[in-house]
């Protein structure tokens, strides 16, 4: 395939480490979490894995997970600069 063709190849981080966008960081209280997985279902960027760990390199801090958590186990904490 000619390198001159303008074809982009799939790669993680194609839009950079979007975690740097955050002003608020999700913090999970594992005691309160009942592992329902709704946070993972609703995360627009699939930044929450099957163990419900949040990938802070990419989490943009939208806060949907905290808002939708039925157990209120996620709180949004302001990032220190």
């Amino acid at each position: 395939m000619s390198a001159k063709l303008a074809i982009s190849r799939p790669a993680e981080g194609a839009a950079g480490k979007t975690g740097t966008w955050r002003t608020f960081r999700p913090v999970v209280d594992r005691e309160a979490c009942n592992e329902c997985g709704l946070c993972r279902q609703y995360c627009p960027d699939a930044a929450i894995d099957e163990n419900l760990d949040i990938d802070l390199d990419y989490c943009k801090g939208c806060g949907i997970c905290a808002k939708e958590c039925p157990k209120k186990a996620i709180t949004m904490v302001r990032e220190e600069d």
Partner: protein, 292 residues
């Protein structure tokens, strides 16, 4: 139906925080699987894919001109079928590229009966260029080109598409990903032209905080402003959370007043929107009961 763990959108696109379109695309691609080509005209999704030479999209994407998504999709699917391939062809377009700029190509492709799925994610304005009014912007919504609120009604895209009698047509909402997933799976199981219209509550465009994307979608459905339904070979069925909304709805003011784009809306305008919702739900109910 169990939703697969595979993700076809790699971490991450440059979509805004809380983007409903990213969420919708996650579930559309999960339902479609790896043997899929996305056809994307100018829209938010064409600008968020990443920076050349890398992309966050882990399935083939064909970025095409604004007006041409459905024309490209129908030709591509014909070519795949001629080669004996069953590859899914999905056009993934915004409301501007569907109800305004791409409507001619969409009408043509639906009429030709090609085997493809067209998904319109509707955030009710031209969002990636800064929230200008589109044909899908609802009555009374402020955009950068309707600063005093839109004076015209939202174009009834679903009625236009229904007039083409596609094999499968459905609405969905970003707040109900399982309903969306099931409908995409069902659509792709049928040969012929399929169309889906998905509501995408856009935090910066509609002016609400990014964590309320899902909540805003739920309010849209609970108020009847958006109805989840499917038309399988012309037969209408109401699905999911909209079954309850057909009988009992929250006042539409609860949905409108949560969004900055409806700031300054008058009581008369709210009453007008409420009356329009009650009327359209009544029509849907009659169609479900096969009275019209």
């Amino acid at each position: 139906m169990a939703i697969p763990d595979e993700e076809y959108i790699l971490k991450t696109t440059s979509a805004c925080a809380g983007c409903p379109s990213s969420l919708i695309l996650r579930y559309v691609t999960k339902a479609a699987g790896p043997d899929t080509v996305l056809v994307i005209p100018a829209c938010c999704t064409s600008v968020i894919q990443g920076v050349y030479p890398t992309t966050a999209m882990n399935i083939p994407v064909y970025n095409v001109a604004f007006a041409s998504a459905a024309a490209v999709g129908s030709g591509m699917s014909e070519a795949f079928r001629a080669c004996g391939k069953k590859t899914n062809v999905i056009c993934y377009a915004g409301d501007g590229g569907t109800v305004d700029i791409g409507i001619q190509a969409l009408s043509g492709a639906l009429e030709r009966g090609n085997d493809f799925l067209y998904v319109c994610y509707d955030n009710e304005a031209y969002s990636n260029t800064g929230m200008q009014r589109s044909g899908a912007t609802p009555f009374a919504a402020r955009t950068t080109t309707t600063p005093a609120g839109k004076q015209d009604l939202k174009k009834d895209l679903d009625a236009i598409v229904a007039a083409h009698n596609p094999v499968y047509q459905a609405t969905a909402c970003a707040a109900y990903p399982v309903d969306l997933y099931n409908k995409v799976v069902k659509a792709l199981s049928m040969p012929g032209p399929k169309f889906m219209h998905v509501l995408a509550p856009c935090p910066p465009g509609w002016r609400f905080p990014s964590e309320e994307t899902i909540e805003m979608g739920k309010l849209a459905v609970k108020s009847g402003m958006w109805v989840l339904w499917e038309r399988d070979h012309g037969k209408l069925a109401i699905t999911g959370a909209s079954k309850a909304a057909m009988v009992k709805r929250i006042p539409v003011a609860d949905y409108l007043t949560r969004q900055g784009r409806f700031k300054g809306i008058t009581e008369e305008q709210i009453a007008e929107i409420q009356a329009a919702i009650d009327r359209s739900i009544g029509c849907l109910q009659k169609e479900v009961e096969s009275e019209c």
